[in-house]
């Protein structure tokens, strides 16, 4: 079985257009959640008022320096996020710009990329045209923009990637599952470099109202595991990791961020929104087993931590089930409190942030915490603190009961 390492990382979110700005915001306890007023496109009478973690308009501007206007013209916002995060990750990995060896490595590379919602903006623009503006047709790029694999198609075209490429959809676990599958592709010898992660852009009038209708949205802030937490706050963006066969990475002298040690999955087979703590615990145990990581190892645990009453309670139970030896060696972070719930990007984002935390030996704080909830008795990181962990475990527990847990180990070299 081939060993897998992470050689590149990139992200874009409300915290910033890249990894460095994201990390600076996180350790400083600066969140990206702000009041938002979103109108139905072109309609001033219909709006959504609430809070969200929006990406700044200029965050994907770097794409213009690398690609022609025509290459970017049919790219929906969620695909643009994917492209921006991947541009940073491939540059970080030393695989971009694609010249000589890096060009052939990219040509043979694979893409496994997640999205929960695809191109909501294109779909809503079509509805607005037909139902509100009375137009007889929708934009011809509606389907190419909104399909959930549009991001994968654009990554392939923009970066010249020609290997096994596909999208993964498992709601809020999409990008975690994508990373897990990318790891397995390399382990099996089916690819040597895989571009993986996820992106989503769901801060649209219709999408925000749809989440509100679920009664899952907080009116002010995301407060994971806190008393008086009131729900999730939507974010948007993308996170990309470059997974690479260890031998391949060492042969070209690539910097290795971390060892991609394992993943574990489970499905609840129970309820479309309500989580199952035993099933979540099974995914955590499965990830530990796959990675060969002892349950009593010192771990930085990047929680799913949505900030909803039921999800956080269930996740806290899952941790107690998964670690019967006790949680003393764990430190738990929950960064949705800063970058919001990035849906199909969130698993990759939280894994990336945890890897950066492990390497920086500092854990970023959970924001918005009002006080302990006896139902969420966990070793939470509430202020930036020094850590000495051997591995990170990053959990994603999605609607539909689709769970995925990722493990990265400190690079021994």
């Amino acid at each position: 079985m081939k060993k897998v390492v992470v050689t590149g990382m990139g992200c874009v979110s409300a915290l910033g257009p890249d990894r460095a700005s994201t990390w600076q915001a996180l350790v400083a306890g600066r969140g990206g959640i702000r009041p938002i007023k979103k109108f139905a496109q072109g309609q001033q009478e219909l709006s959504f008022d609430g809070v969200a973690a929006s990406v700044a308009p200029e965050a994907t501007g770097n794409l213009n320096a690398h690609f022609a206007e025509k290459q970017l013209s049919g790219v929906d916002r969620f695909s643009a996020f994917a492209a921006a995060a991947t541009l940073e990750a491939l540059t970080d990995a030393g695989l971009w710009p694609a010249t000589g060896n890096s060009g052939s490595a990219l040509s043979e590379a694979a893409i496994v990329y997640g999205s929960a919602s695809g191109g909501n903006i294109a779909v809503e623009a079509g509805f607005v045209r037909m139902f509100l503006q009375g137009m007889p047709n929708v934009h011809p790029m509606t389907i190419p923009r909104c399909m959930s694999s549009a991001s994968v198609g654009h990554l392939s075209m923009l970066f010249g990637i020609r290997g096994h490429s596909l999208a993964v959809a498992s709601a809020c676990s999409s990008s975690a599952h994508a990373i897990g599958e990318a790891m397995h592709l390399i382990r099996a010898g089916r690819a040597r470099v895989v571009v993986t992660g996820g992106s989503d852009s769901s801060l649209t009038f219709g999408s925000l109202h749809s989440w509100k209708a679920l009664q899952a949205m907080a009116p002010d802030a995301c407060r994971p595991f806190s008393i008086d937490r009131k729900g999730l706050v939507l974010g948007e963006g993308a996170a990309t990791l470059i997974l690479e066969e260890e031998e391949h990475a060492r042969a070209r002298g690539a910097h290795i961020h971390t060892v991609m040690a394992g993943s574990g999955s489970s499905a609840d087979a129970a309820h479309i929104t309500q989580p199952d703590a035993q099933s979540a615990a099974a995914a955590i145990r499965s990830a530990h087993k796959d990675a060969g990581l002892a349950e009593d190892a010192p771990i930085l645990f990047s929680a799913h931590g949505t900030g909803t009453r039921l999800n956080d309670r269930s996740e806290a139970q899952a941790l107690h089930f998964a670690y019967p030896c006790g949680l003393e060696r764990l430190r738990v972070i929950a960064t949705k409190s800063a970058h919001g719930h990035m849906l199909g990007a969130t698993g990759a984002m939280e894994f990336l942030v945890a890897i950066d935390a492990m390497n920086a030996k500092v854990a970023p704080p959970i924001l918005g915490y009002l006080g302990p909830d006896p139902e969420c008795d966990l070793p939470l990181v509430l202020a930036p603190e020094p850590i000495a962990c051997e591995a990170v475990v990053s959990a994603s527990f999605a609607f539909g009961g689709l769970n995925c847990v990722l493990v990265a180990r400190r690079n021994p070299a």
Binding site: K70, S73, M141
Partner: protein, 83 residues
């Protein structure tokens, strides 16, 4: 409204920067593909409030002049309907 100038402005959004198109240039020879032409037709329909027939399959035959005449024809038909 100068129809030719409006059409040139719409075509320009899909042409390679700096590329010129004269009246007898076939759309495919100007470097446009079938999806470009569908998008151009959509923008033309929006701009002039007319409907064009499907053209994606004919880009190797249709010239800029053909497109221009088609738009003039549809605009005239629309004007006739309105009177």
């Amino acid at each position: 409204m100068d129809v030719e100038q409006e059409l040139r402005a719409i075509l320009k959004t899909k042409l390679t920067p700096g590329a010129e198109i004269d009246l007898n240039t076939k759309l495919a020879d100007a470097g446009l593909d079938s999806l470009d032409v569908v998008e151009i037709a959509f923008d033309v329909e929006d701009k002039f409030r007319i409907q064009l027939p499907p053209m994606a399959g004919q880009i190797t035959d249709v010239t800029f002049l053909d497109l221009y005449r088609l738009v003039e024809e549809r605009l005239a038909a629309k004007a006739a309907e309105a009177t």
